[in-house]
Amino acid sequence: MEKELNVVGTRVPMLDAALKAKGAALFTDDLVLPGMLHGRILRSPVPHARIRHIDTSRAEKLPGVKGVVTGRDIPDRRYGIVPKAKDEHALARDKVRYIGDDVAAVCAVDPETAEEALALITVEYEALPAVFDPLEAKKEGAPLIHEGVKNNTSFFIRKEFGDVERAFGECDEIFEHSFYSQAVNHAPLEPHGALAQFDPQNGELTVWSSTQIPYFLRRNLSNTLQLDESKVRIIKPKVGGGFGQKIDMFAKDFCAAWFAIHLGKPVKFIYEREEIFISTRQRHPMYITVRTGVKKDGTILAQKFQAFADGGAYNSTAPTMIALSCFFLMIPYRVPNLIYEGSHIYTNKPVGGAMRGHGIPQARFAVERQLDIIADRIGVDPAEIRIKNSIQAGAPHPAGFVINTCGFSDSVKKAAAAIGWKEKRGRLPLGRGVGLAGASFPSGVSNMSHISSGAVVQLGRDGAVNVLTGAADIGQGAETVIGQIVAEELGVPIEDIRVTAADTGITPLDPGTFGSGVTVRAGNAARLAAISAKQKLLEFVADKLEANAADLVAKDRKIFVKGSPDKGITLAEALKGYQYADLPMPIVGRGSWMAPASEPTTLFKEDGNFAPNYSFMTQAAEVDVDLETGKVKLLKMVTAHDCGRPINPMLVEGQLEGSVVGGMGQALYENVIVENGQVMNPSFLDYGFPTFLEMPEIEAIEVLTDDPIGPFGAKEAGEGTQLSPAPAIVNAVYDAIGIDFMELPITPEKILAALAEKTKENDKAQ
């Protein structure tokens, strides 16, 4: 399996690391254009109401205000990230559906004036009854949040594989548990923002936006503004984290564009931190019930899964999220008979959207928790039960997933060994414990209408390589990984590579950064583009050397016959010769890549393979529970991780380490607390995600499987690793204090209450 790779597989610093370390990397709010105006959004202070009247006259008169707009002024065009789930207007038209809903926008000479103007807008609301609990919202008679959406359930998915009822009949033991997973905010450090500029002479709109999805944003803006897509250019500046929250068009994008068009000046909207907590996106809270049937030895025979997702006031990625949540119950364990039902339910609360794992962390928590409970009750070791049920690469899969590489069992063994499983599980003193959890994640989703990526590689006269890719780097290092792939293919060092990315006016199409598909999809496209450019050069050199192009390799800035490095020429000489032969310069290669899938397909209709490949991992945690205060300290988290082959081990570690701390936050520290539809902790102070001092010891173990579909064997890294930290921690808490927690987060209060309850029960028993 070992390959001789020069750039792929090395710990290359990010291509823009120096820019970032110098403070010279330009994020959306760092961009300034002459005459730039500033905008702010007026948001609803009520959870559910009809808009009777909006009076903007006082705001318009405030000196410095250049424009005010409401939902009535804009085209009646809905938008949404998933075409069939479009249910939002850029500014509310007749109704507001949650506290924080976008109602009006002001554009002024500076942000302070814009904010002052917001307070001068009078909105007459007619309050409507509101509903905050999805289980209440889906009942008959609950207030209707969207016209025509019965039981406030905007999406429902139900699928069955195998014969579940019969299989339950064959089980030795059946377990059923209910779980709850809370609302979590992505909290990227960089606020959402957009800067728009319109050229009336050519009718072209340019928007710089802190986004993960430049091309989808272009489509949505084109649609809602009623401009041709060819007249809308989206440029992605540096993005300071997204984690899924910057998937979607937001009011700031639309309003910046709107004012730029109508006022003829550049317009910038930047969200305040509070707006990000309330009015962007969050991870869907979910109520989940799982019924699992096993044989005595722990083999899973049947599973029934039911999830109610609290969608908040709008859909965002609803159908995709709920489908993913359900479909990926089928990895990493073999579940031969499965029914799942998932509902996405509206409530008058902040909107759920894609968040690192996208519906799967919640399901994973439930399944991994239950698996531990099952293992405990039937007397099988929790690590063993996972290995026993692991899917195998190449084996037929109940739902038709094509799994070429699977390092799952290996990852369980390695994670367990590294945490000291045998010595510790069930053997540590009260308050200390170890737990583990497994996960798997798709590298992008094939089976979701048309998802493909394009790339262009230009090889210049001087040997400098320009890569054009639509890939949206949001800090994970996509551009660097793509650069490494191209460098490897062309046989040049990374220093020779320049990447231009995510500018819809220049770069080829790419769906964007979500579903962890960038390395595989955009990476493969870039690789094909590099091969295409290389091929032209190789054919030229082959001719010169009187060799076969197929026998030539490009390496170390040379082109030579395989096995005979002295029988070749330098890249510089080859390029010079190419140019002097009057062949077109630069040498341009094109590539595009789409995951192999049946077409046309949607997640809802077809079975079959859902991703080009799948990552696998196991995380093992060691915790210390303070029995007096209830505080849980995560001491150590081990991740044994199969991402095929890491293109850049340092960046993969970065993803892993970040997702461990993120998962820890989800398990122990974070919760969007809502009271009657109002977020009570919309600040970095009150929504306390982990600091340096909460950091555990983090160990990463690589499980190399070298996938045939991924570029240089790569699979996704960074989303899968956020699926299993939470259950691993909660499983470790069980080992530490013998209490099964069925919801997230596990706060000190809950731990103390459970300990007190346990003591009471023990006392009663005696």
């Binding site: 710990r11 610093p13 990010m14 823009d16 690391a17 120096a18 820019l19 970032k20 370390a21 110098k22 403070g23 010279a24 990397a25 330009l26 994020f27 709010d29 760092d30 300034v32 992505h186 909290a187 990227p188 450090l189 960089e190 606020p191 540096k238 993005v239 300071g240 984290g241 984690f243 305040e272 931190r273 949001i474 800090g475 994970q476 290092g477 340092m650 960046l651 570690e653 970065g654 892993l656 380490e657 970040g658 997702s659 461990v660 701390v661 993120g662 600040s683 970095f684 102070l685 995600f689 600091t691 340096f692 001092l693 950091m695 983090i698």
Partner: protein, 158 residues
Amino acid sequence: MKKVIELNINGDTHDLLVSSNHTLLEVLREKLGLMGTKRGCDLGACGACTVLINGEAYLSCIMLAVDAVGKEIITIEGLAAGGDLHPLQNAFIDQGALQCGFCTPGMILTAEAILTEDEHPTEDVIKTKMAGNLCRCTGYKKIVEAVMSVNEKIGEEA
């Protein structure tokens, strides 16, 4: 109420027309175009706006510009000497201690303040003093390693 103040930033003096309620962060970004200092929360709870005031780490979003008069202000742009990067910058780059880069200027300046104040702080001291700088991408591990690596080298070179 506007007035003219003189600020010393990265070794240069600037005469600036400011309002008395302008924060130092606003003045750096809007008046001087020094965009390296970031606005993550505007309430002093994330550290992205960290600058050095007489060598100490301050949150520029909750500091009035007028309070910076007469002080030596260093922003991330002023850390490198000429064309060379500061050892902390190099460590962050080489060791992958940054991902999206938004928290990075604040991290580096706080680390600089810590290493200036303390001869050889322990890892625990570094973590404690950097805990006011939030990061959502890295999980902090590589940042600690990068700062420790510079910490260990201090005093080693001639």
